[in-house]
Amino acid sequence: MKRAILYGIILFLCGCDLIEYHPYDVRLHGETDINAKNIARIEEICEGKDTLRFVLMGDSQRWYDETEDFVKALNNRDDVDFVIHGGDISDFGLTKEFMWVRDIMGKLKVPYVALLGNHDILGNGMDVFLEVYGKENFSFRAGNTKFICLNTNALEFDYSHPVPDFTFMYNELQDTVGCLRTVPVMHVQPFNVEFNNNVAYGFHALLLEFPGVEFCLHAHSHTLLHEVLFDDGIPYIGCAAMKDKNYLLFTLTLGGYEYEVVYY
């Protein structure tokens, strides 16, 4: 009996990770507020640079092995400044899922930021996102390029929670001094069922107010997309999901931009 109790205590002490109160308990341990920390790194790395190279990937969802392979592939190259995770970090919004992806992505040598995807809002996944990554709408500067990252998962919310948040966008519009180019990034592109399509035109028109918008980025569709959605030549470029084992590598120069699909 004494031995059984002793074994029980040892098992308990060794396995504190084994204690879970609920799959949606949002009981977090480890790194939090990742976007803010990594934005500081990105801004430092890219300061004064005319040429930027960044990677867009997304929808890691339940493809942990593939996401791990992505991190390995990216760590083998040294020409990328930073990575953008386009959202759908988790598949079910479970607390543990965010921890798993955070631990995998945390092994990246370059800094990364992550957007909020519709799957990340399921259950109380958004509470995990807000704690682990930070705000649902955020922006940063890389050299003289402004990246504006937006929550566009309107179907998950009602009117009490503005998605997309035009107030945020207006405020960001007041902060474009010295900015030559703007790259809007979102999880869901306009005209998708998840988007608030009543405001699709207004949303796009407001984005065009930003200096130097040449293209917009998104994830969500699980397939490579390059679509001009508003008859103005501005493409919405979407990355595939991690299961397809590829990512988009963007190169921004003073003269323009180009991107390629890289398989790993």
Partner: protein
């Protein structure tokens, strides 16, 4: 058969019944009614008595709450089957509100080994439980605003499987509890199994949930 014989038969039966009924006094009738009433009452009480929980239980962790309290019934030839209902509390932690959960749990404990004296070991206890979050932030079926089959799963209801062991101690007939049982369980749930089955990265150890508990047997 002759009509006269049938007529005699019917008359005899009628007279017999009439004699029994008319021969009864009011007291006899009253007594019979009281007995019948007692019998009915007994049946009614013993029927509901069978629903009185046999034991109370407390469980710590196990993906159903920080602490869950409930009651249970054991049944079967060797009392090897148990059904429990529990309410659990999940503190808010980094979310915006605390949660109350409800669990329906089915246990199977096929063996009981004497450890000598009043000590008993149940070397294997296994079963499954269903846990539901009592909150409108979680849904059983996705709300109508979504296209059909958009998410294909419920955020509100989880199905768990578990295995564990128990040690029991008999307290004797005049104690507040007949027997006290301590147990541990290792469990996992449907969404974790799906995640682990499709990824080498998610190890079995990553999806296991350890819990401890105590059963207090009354009946």
């Amino acid at each position: 058969m002759k009509w006269s014989i049938i007529r005699v038969g019917i008359m005899t039966m009628f007279m017999g019944v009439a004699t029994i009924v008319l021969g009864m006094t009011d007291d006899d009738r009253e007594q019979r009614r009281a007995e019948r009433h007692q019998r009915k009452l007994q049946q009614y009480k013993s029927g509901w008595n069978r629903l009185i929980p046999k034991y109370q239980n407390i469980q710590y962790a196990g993906s159903m709450g920080l602490l869950s309290l409930g009651v249970g019934w054991d049944y079967g030839k060797k009392k090897q089957w148990e059904t429990e209902i529990m309410f659990g509390l999940v503190p808010r932690f980094s979310s915006n509100k605390a949660k109350v959960t409800f669990t329906l749990k089915q246990n199977y404990a096929p063996w009981e080994v004497s450890l000598g004296g009043k000590w008993w070991l149940e070397p294997l206890v296994t079963g499954l439980y269903m846990n539901t979050v009592l909150s409108d932030d979680f849904w059983v079926k996705e709300p109508e605003k979504y296209p059909s089959n958009y998410y294909k799963f419920s955020t509100r209801v989880r199905f768990h499987i578990f295995a564990g062991q128990r040690v029991a101690f008999d307290l004797g007939p005049h104690s507040p509890f007949r027997r006290i049982t301590a147990f541990y369980e290792l469990s996992t749930c449907d969404l974790y199994i799906i995640s682990s089955a499709t990824n080498k990265y998610v190890k079995t150890w990553d999806i296991l949930s350890l819990s401890f508990g105590v059963k207090l047997h009354i009946l």
